[in-house]
């Protein structure tokens, strides 16, 4: 990224971080998700520096992008949760009950699958941020994002095969 763009984006970051966090926190009711939304917003800004720095209202650009990012987070969480719920419903016959404990691991054939399920559950039901999930696994946020995407694709395939 051009050094001048980087300087401008950094300046915007420091100017707007607190305000953006206030907005995101109010919208998402979660400190970690709010930080995720703000960081994602500036990540997008770094990928589109001409757009934000060339805008007649860069502050407005950031806030508007933040709004879109927040809505995206909500949409992704909701759709992943729906997919997981649908899959769990298709597996009802496969769940074994032993000593009144439902053996949830029987849904997944191997440890890799279980790890993917765990990731999806943390994202959709526990509403964890990518950074939280990444830190837990000792991987980068970018790697976590990719693993989550692969987990969603696996879930989709399982849903398709279970019909």
């Amino acid at each position: 990224m051009d050094a001048e763009y980087r300087k401008q984006i950094e300046a915007l970051y420091f100017e707007l971080y607190d305000k953006a966090m206030v907005y995101a926190r109010s919208a998402l009711d979660s400190e970690v998700l709010a930080e995720e939304a703000v960081q994602e917003t500036f990540r997008i800004a770094c990928q589109k520096p001409q757009s934000v720095c060339g805008s007649p209202n860069p502050q407005g650009w950031i806030i508007q992008t933040l709004k879109y990012t927040i809505r995206n987070i909500r949409t992704n969480q909701a759709s992943t949760k729906r997919m997981l719920e649908r899959y769990m419903l298709t597996q009802v016959d496969n769940i074994s009950i032993s000593d009144n404990q439902i053996n949830i691991s029987i849904l997944y054939e191997n440890i890799a699958d279980l790890e993917e399920f765990q990731l999806l559950k943390e994202f959709a039901f526990e509403k964890q941020s990518h950074q939280e999930m990444a830190a837990k696994r000792g991987i980068t946020v970018s790697a976590c994002r990719k693993r989550l995407q692969r987990a969603k694709e696996t879930l989709h395939r399982k849903l398709k095969n279970s019909v």
Binding site: M1, E10, Y13, F14, Y17, D18, K19, A20, M21, V22, Y23, R25, S26, A27, D29, E31, E35, V38, Q39, E40, F42, R43, I44, C46, Q47, K48, N57, Q59, G60, I63, Q64, T65, K67, Y68, T69, I70, R71, N72, R74, T75, A78, S79, T80, R82, M83, Q131, A134, T140, V141, S142, K152, H156, L159, K160
Partner: protein, 285 residues
């Protein structure tokens, strides 16, 4: 709540007098408001500024901007190779001009029927400007395997491919899609338009020179506007407690409706009996 394009000088003193809880609630409502019904950016910046200042005063803050910036550089700053490509992972592909015009026309219909209450702060020209901009700026993620529908060697879609299947694959609810299409029409392509705000599916069916478009748009997290009647309305068709608004538009029939969290429309050079047949098939699944 001041509307987006209210050009009068804003008096922010009323916000300064509100409690932090009231201001936070305003922000939350703004994040859920449909487009056109949101607070303007200056008001948002003012309110968030007031709240940020109060949080500092009460020492009720999380990370400082400096700490967050360091975390950003470590965890979120795109790597060099990512900075060379557009923000979206999928390479944007311009859709066929015919489809773009169809999207703009359909968006115009949808906006006419779905937006009016939210657009009262805008003048009419701006609404159509917004439609044109939306159509221009929407990236069309062309579904793999699709080729130009007018070229002689257009590939047939795989037999199991359908709009329902594509929506299902993307995690959306396919039950809003008609399961019956008039005889002779074949699915030619599915475009998925995705913005941070929403996802739209546009399916094109063809029968010689005749065509049908089905568009399904999700609006997760927001409320739809109610549908307003205009002079092109032919009929409000009620089918199993859902109202379908049937319009004529330039020799094509259109049906527009809202179902669950989706805004839907059908548009085609078809008869009213055929469009009702498609509508009837939706409820039967």
């Amino acid at each position: 709540m001041p509307k987006k394009n209210d050009r009068t000088k804003q008096d922010y003193s009323k916000y300064a007098a509100m409690t932090s809880e009231e201001l936070a609630r305003l922000l939350r409502l703004d994040s859920e408001a449909p487009e056109g019904n949101e607070l303007d950016i200056d008001t948002l910046l003012y309110i968030t500024g007031v709240l940020a200042e109060r949080e500092k005063t009460s020492n009720n803050t999380g990370k400082t901007a400096q700490e967050a910036w360091m975390s950003f550089q470590q965890n979120y700053m795109p790597e060099e190779e990512e900075l060379a490509v557009p923000a979206k992972d999928t390479k944007p592909v311009r859709s066929h001009p015919w489809v773009r015009r169809g999207i703009a026309a359909a968006a115009a219909i949808v906006l006419v029927v779905l937006v009016p209450l939210t657009a009262k702060a805008l003048n009419w020209e701006k609404i159509w400007d917004a439609v044109a901009m939306w159509a221009k700026e929407t990236f069309s993620f062309v579904w793999e395997g699709q080729t130009d529908v007018d070229s002689p060697d257009t590939k047939e879609l795989r037999p199991f491919d359908s709009l329902q299947g594509k929506m299902d694959e993307m995690g959306d609810d396919p039950s809003v899609v008609p399961t019956w299409i008039p005889e002779g029409f074949v699915l030619k392509r599915i475009d998925i338009d995705e913005t941070p705000m929403q996802r739209s599916y546009i399916a094109l069916y063809k029968n010689g020179e005749r065509s049908i478009n089905i568009c399904i748009r999700s609006f997760e997290g927001t409320d739809p506007e109610r549908i307003e009647i205009n002079e092109e309305l032919l009929e409000i068709y009620n089918c199993e407690d859902t109202e379908f608004y049937i319009f004529s538009n330039n020799k094509r029939l259109c049906a527009v409706w809202i179902q669950d969290s989706y805004e839907c429309y059908i548009s085609g050079g078809i008869t009213i009996e055929e469009i009702k047949g498609m509508i009837n098939s939706i409820q039967k699944g």
